[in-house]
C-alpha cells in the first residue's frame, strides 16, 4: 500500500508540465516540489496529498504580488495578485511539498483547510489579518495579530509604512 501511495505522489510526466493530482507542478529553487492548484481543485489536491503521506501542514501564509504581476509560473496558471502558500510535510517519507494558490483581488476568497488540517486555523486567521484573504469554511475568522477595530491589512504592498495616524496629538511638548 505504501508503494502505491508513493507512486501516486510521483509527478506523472505528460506533454508539458508534470501534473500532481491534476495540478501543474514544478521543481522550484533548491529542488523543492511546488504544486499550483486552482481554487476548485485546491481542497481535493490537499486531501489527495494527505493520503499520499503529507499528513502535516506546517505553514500557510499569504503573499501580495501587486508589484510583481509577471512572475514565472508554469503554463496554464494565471498569475493573480494574491497567493496562498501552503507548506506540507510528510513525516514518513521525509518530503516536503508546497502549494501556491492564486487568489484574484476581485474575489478574495479561498477554501479553508480547517477540515483537513485543523492546525491551519491560526495561520489562516493570520493570512486574513495581514492580507484580507477570506477563508470559506473557517470556524472563527477574526483578526489575530492586529486589534479587532484595525482598518486595512498591513502586509499588503499598497499599505504604506508609517501611515498610522498620530495618536497623542494633545501631548505637551517636551521641555
Amino acid at each position: 500500500m505504501a508503494t502505491e501511495a508513493e507512486s501516486a505522489a510521483e509527478p506523472t510526466e505528460s506533454e508539458g508540465e508534470p501534473l500532481i493530482h491534476g495540478s501543474p507542478s514544478e521543481l522550484g529553487r533548491a529542488g523543492q516540489l511546488v504544486v499550483h492548484p486552482d481554487r476548485d481543485s485546491y481542497l481535493a489536491v490537499v486531501r489527495a496529498l494527505r493520503d499520499d503521506g503529507y499528513r502535516m501542514c506546517v505553514d500557510l501564509c499569504g503573499v501580495d504580488y501587486l508589484l510583481k504581476p509577471d512572475r514565472p509560473l508554469p503554463a496554464g496558471v494565471r498569475p493573480e495578485r494574491f497567493e496562498v502558500v501552503v507548506n506540507l510535510l510528510a513525516l514518513d517519507g521525509r518530503r516536503r511539498a508546497r502549494l501556491r494558490l492564486q487568489v484574484p483581488v476581485d474575489d478574495l476568497t479561498a477554501p479553508s483547510l480547517f477540515e483537513l488540517h485543523p492546525g491551519t486555523e491560526a495561520m489562516e486567521r493570520e493570512a486574513y489579518d495581514m492580507f484580507g484573504i477570506l477563508f470559506a469554511g473557517h470556524p472563527d475568522l477574526s483578526r489575530i495579530l492586529m486589534p479587532d477595530d484595525w482598518e486595512g491589512h498591513p502586509l499588503r504592498k499598497d499599505y504604506g509604512i508609517g501611515r498610522i495616524p498620530v495618536q497623542f496629538k494633545g501631548n505637551p511638548r517636551p521641555r
Binding site: 529553487r29 533548491a30 505553514d59 508546497r98 470556524p139 483578526r143 489575530i144 502586509l155
Partner: protein, 436 residues
C-alpha cells in the same frame, strides 16, 4: 464577492459567552474537533452561561511567559473552554523585513525568538543562501552548528528555569538562569552582544571565533553535566514535581500531527521527528546524537525531553570541538562578502566594494524558497520570496510557538486552573515569535 455572500462574518478575537458562540467555533474552543470527532455540533449537557465564568489569564500574568492572554471559561476550578488571544507583541517584523537588505535582515529576525536568536539568524541565512546557491566553507558551517547547539543549551536551561518557577520550585529559576549565563557570556565574547547577536549572516558568520574559545566552550561542557544531575535531584525524582506534571496536559501523536505541532511536544507523544536527524541540514549527518522521545505525551515527558536534549547538545558540541577545521569563516564570494578590513586602507576598489555592499546590499536571484531548521521549540521555517532586488519581496517566518499555541485549548480542556499554568509553560511559547 462580499464577505456576507460567502457566509463569513468577521468574528472577534475575544472569547464570547456560550450564548454568543455557536457550532463549530465552540467545539473548537473546547478542543472537541480533535478529541471527539463523532460528536455532533450540539454537545450534550451544556452548562449555561450562569454556571460558568470567563476570566482572563494575562496578558500581564507572570506565568504566561510574556504577553500571552488566555481566556478561560471556568466552572469552579475546572477549565471548560480556553482561547489564547495573541498580538500584544506584534511589531510587524515581516513588514519591516521587506524594507531591510539581506545583510540587515538578521538584525530583524534575530529579535523574533529572543530566547534562541541564533536559530532565527540561521534559518534566514540559509534561505538567502538557498536562493543565492552559495556554498558555505566548512568552518563557517561548523561554527554555526556550535553556536546553535550552545544556544539550544541556553534556551532549554531558561525553559527549565521558568517551568520550575511556574510549578513552585523557585530555586530552579535562579539555577536555570545561572546556566544560561555561562552560554551568554561566551556569545558576548564571540559576537559582542548577549542577545540579538546578528552573528550568523548570509554568507557565513560575522567574525571568527575569538582566541581561547576552546577553553570557554570546554568550561561550559565541564560544568553543565554536574548541574544537570543536580536538576535530577531537585526535580525529576521529586514527588511534588511529579504530581504536578505527570498526566497533565496530555496530547496524542495524531492530535499533534493534525495541529502541525513540532518539537519536544511532538516528540513527547512518541513520534521520533527531529529535523536534525530526519532532514539533516548543516553537518548534522556527521555527528552522533540521539533523538529523545517520550511516551505519554504529558508535561513530565516534555520536561524529561528538554532536560536530556541538553545532554545531547553537550555530546554534539564535544564532537564539534574535535571536528572544527581551520579555514574561512565566510564564503569567499565577492558579491556577498565584503573585503577584509585590512584591504580597505590600501585599495580604492576594496573601499568602494565595501561601501556598495553595506549601502545597496547584494542582489538575490528571483525565486521563492522554504527552509526549516529544528529550533528548541520545533520547526522554525522561513519562506522567502525574492524579486531579484537587494531586499526580500516577502519574508515569512513560521514560528513554532505560534503553531504550538493552538494546542492550548486541547490540553487545558477539563483540567484545573493550576494545571493551566503548567500547560502554558510546557509548550514553551516565546511571544516575540508568536506575534512577530
Amino acid at each position: 464577492m462580499s464577505r456576507t455572500e460567502v457566509g463569513l462574518d468577521e468574528g472577534r478575537q475575544e472569547m464570547q459567552p456560550r450564548a454568543g458562540t455557536s457550532g463549530i467555533e465552540a467545539l473548537r474552543e473546547m478542543g472537541a474537533v480533535l478529541r471527539i470527532p463523532h460528536l455532533s455540533e450540539e454537545v450534550e449537557s451544556v452548562p449555561t452561561d450562569d454556571d460558568t465564568m470567563i476570566i482572563n489569564m494575562g496578558p500581564q500574568h507572570p506565568s504566561t511567559h510574556g504577553v500571552l492572554r488566555v481566556m478561560m471559561e471556568l466552572q469552579g476550578e475546572k477549565v471548560l473552554r480556553a482561547k489564547p488571544v495573541i498580538g500584544y507583541l506584534h511589531t510587524g517584523m515581516e513588514k519591516t523585513g521587506e524594507d531591510l537588505t539581506y545583510l540587515q535582515g538578521p538584525t530583524n529576525v534575530t529579535r523574533m525568538d529572543y530566547v534562541s536568536p541564533m536559530f532565527n539568524e540561521l534559518v534566514f541565512a540559509m534561505a538567502v543562501e538557498a536562493l543565492l546557491e552559495l556554498e558555505m566553507p566548512p568552518r563557517a558551517t561548523w561554527i554555526r552548528m556550535l553556536m546553535c547547539e550552545l544556544n539550544r543549551i541556553s534556551s532549554q536551561a531558561l525553559w527549565l528555569a521558568t517551568n520550575g518557577m511556574d510549578l513552585g520550585a523557585i530555586s530552579m529559576m535562579i539555577y536555570g538562569i545561572r546556566e544560561r549565563e555561562l552560554v551568554l557570556a561566551f556569545f558576548e565574547k564571540c559576537s559582542g552582544l548577549r542577545m540579538n547577536h546578528n552573528y550568523i549572516r548570509p554568507g557565513g558568520v560575522a567574525a571568527d571565533l575569538p582566541d581561547g574559545w576552546r577553553d570557554d566552550v570546554m568550561h561550559i561542557l565541564d560544568v553543565m553535566p554536574g548541574r544537570l544531575d543536580e536538576y535530577d535531584t531537585l526535580l525529576t525524582g521529586q514527588p511534588i514535581f511529579q504530581e504536578r506534571t505527570q498526566d497533565v496536559g496530555v496530547i496524542t501523536a495524531d492530535e499533534c500531527i493534525a495541529l502541525g505541532i513540532t518539537g519536544p511536544t511532538l516528540r513527547s507523544t512518541g513520534v521520533e521527528w527531529d529535523l536534525r536527524r530526519h532532514m539533516p541540514y548543516l553537518y548534522y549527518d556527521q555527528v552522533d546524537f540521539d533523538v529523545i522521545v517520550g511516551r505519554y505525551g504529558d508535561t513530565f515527558d516534555r520536561y524529561a525531553i528538554r532536560l536530556n536534549e541538553i545532554r545531547e547538545s553537550i555530546r554534539i558540541v564535544h564532537q564539534i570541538l574535535d571536528l572544527m577545521p581551520a579555514g574561512d569563516y565566510r564564503a569567499q564570494d565577492k558579491k556577498v562578502t565584503p573585503p577584509p578590513r585590512g584591504r580597505i586602507d590600501e585599495s580604492m576598489e576594496a573601499l568602494i566594494h565595501h561601501f556598495k555592499i553595506f549601502t545597496e546590499g547584494f542582489k538575490v536571484p528571483e525565486g521563492e524558497v522554504y527552509v526549516a531548521v529544528e529550533s528548541p521549540r520545533g520547526e522554525l521555517g522561513c519562506y522567502l520570496v525574492s524579486d531579484g532586488s537587494a531586499k526580500p519581496y516577502r519574508l515569512h517566518i513560521r514560528g513554532p510557538s505560534f503553531v504550538n499555541l493552538q494546542a492550548l485549548p486541547h490540553m487545558m480542556r477539563n483540567g484545573l486552573i493550576a494545571d493551566a499554568v503548567a500547560i502554558i509553560s510546557t509548550l514553551d511559547p516565546v511571544m516575540g515569535e508568536v506575534d512577530r
